[in-house]
């Protein structure tokens, strides 16, 4: 993807998710996305240590390729966002399940919007599956994903997601990985990539 396309995807998703989360919470939430580029899984170390407590929403992707979208919430972000969504009022014993459900909903909104915009922008048909959530150490969760998808590339598109409910800010990370044989083509795609102008033509064509 070109830098312009990545920025356009991030901007579209930020606008959509800000509206969706603000509506869900009844408060003005601002979501900002900044794609930091394609990295090797092994280079995620400075961002996440294997022992770091995280909540990870996984959305499996099929269609023209196979892959996963992961929204990784550091513990502090997961706690803050789940408290916001549940209003901090959870029945004793239900806290973990309600928190996981809240995190899954936010992951669904952000990852779903990103995949849709990414799909449109790259011309790659991506079918999103029902999201799942796991809360544990980063290493424990990632080991299952890597083990399950040994055919996935270790090249991962990393996007920082900042949630702002002034005066507070929380960070999460969206990771996108595809099959080895498709990864380079999708991330390096230029010939089939659509510019914002192309997208406008597509939209105009649909509405017409």
């Amino acid at each position: 993807m070109s830098t312009v396309n990545v920025v356009t995807v991030a901007s579209e998703v930020a606008a959509h998710t800000s509206r969706a989360l603000s509506s869900l919470l009844g408060k003005q939430v601002r979501v900002l996305l900044q794609t930091t580029g394609v990295k090797k899984v092994t280079e995620l170390g400075p961002t996440f240590s294997p022992d770091e407590a995280v909540a990870i929403v996984l959305m499996r992707v099929t269609g023209d390729t196979e892959g996963v979208a992961l929204l990784v919430f550091p513990r502090a972000t997961a706690d803050a966002i789940s408290a916001l969504l549940t209003g901090g009022r959870t029945e004793r014993g239900q806290t973990m399940e309600m928190a996981k459900s809240a995190i899954k909903e936010v992951g669904n909104i952000v990852a779903g919007a990103y995949l849709t915009a990414f799909s449109n922008m790259t011309g790659t048909r991506l079918i999103e599956h029902v999201p799942e959530v796991a809360c544990d150490t980063f290493g424990s969760v990632m080991s299952q994903i890597v083990g399950q998808f040994s055919t996935l590339s270790t090249n991962v598109l990393v996007t920082e997601v900042q949630f702002s409910l002034l005066p507070d800010h929380w960070l999460a990370y969206l990771l996108l990985a595809f099959k080895w044989e498709d990864s380079h083509r999708i991330f390096g795609l230029r010939e089939n990539a659509r510019t914002p102008e192309d997208l406008e033509k597509v939209r105009a064509g649909r509405s017409g």
Binding site: L58, A134, D136, G139, S140, V141, Q144, Q148, S150
Partner: protein, 149 residues
């Protein structure tokens, strides 16, 4: 005495008061082998069940190949093959509905390989939905397992 961390795809051997540790064990399995008389042990952290069934990853990422490597390393360090006993940790399923049970397959592969090698499994902490960390003390052969959540 030394503390050695065993990452995914690695095999390490310890003697005497060494401590072998491993963390971030989700669907992976950690297998330890121990010779009580020699106070020598090895630990492997494997990601996938069988070397013959997988992609071209380094061998110790696979349970069966990792156990072969541990046996060879321990014998090279003076352990007696017929005194080795095993412990198995891991094989969780971190996502309720996702995947094809890679954790259970890893555990099954470990048990099958150890049985084929006539190595008794004297302890296990496997399955479930939570990740684990382990510490293996080669002085005693004891292994402690912790879960963070």
């Amino acid at each position: 005495m030394g503390t050695m961390n065993v990452s995914v795809g690695q095999v390490s051997v310890g003697k005497g008061s060494d401590i072998l540790t491993s963390s971030g064990i989700g669907s992976c399995v950690v297998v330890s082998l121990y010779d009580r008389m020699q106070r020598t042990g090895a630990m492997a952290h494997a990601l996938l069940p069988l070397a013959s069934a997988g992609a071209a990853l380094p061998d110790a990422k696979y349970v069966d190949a990792a156990i072969d490597a541990m046996i060879a390393e321990l014998v090279a360090h003076g352990a007696a093959r017929d005194r080795l006993v095993a412990k198995i940790v891991g094989g969780a399923n971190m996502f309720a509905d996702f995947g094809s049970g890679i954790g259970a397959k890893n555990v099954a592969a470990a048990k099958e390989k150890l049985k084929a090698e006539s190595i008794e499994v004297v302890g296990e902490c496997v399955g479930g939905v939570l990740g684990r960390s382990v510490e293996f003390c080669t002085a005693s052969g004891g292994m402690s397992v912790t879960q963070r959540f």
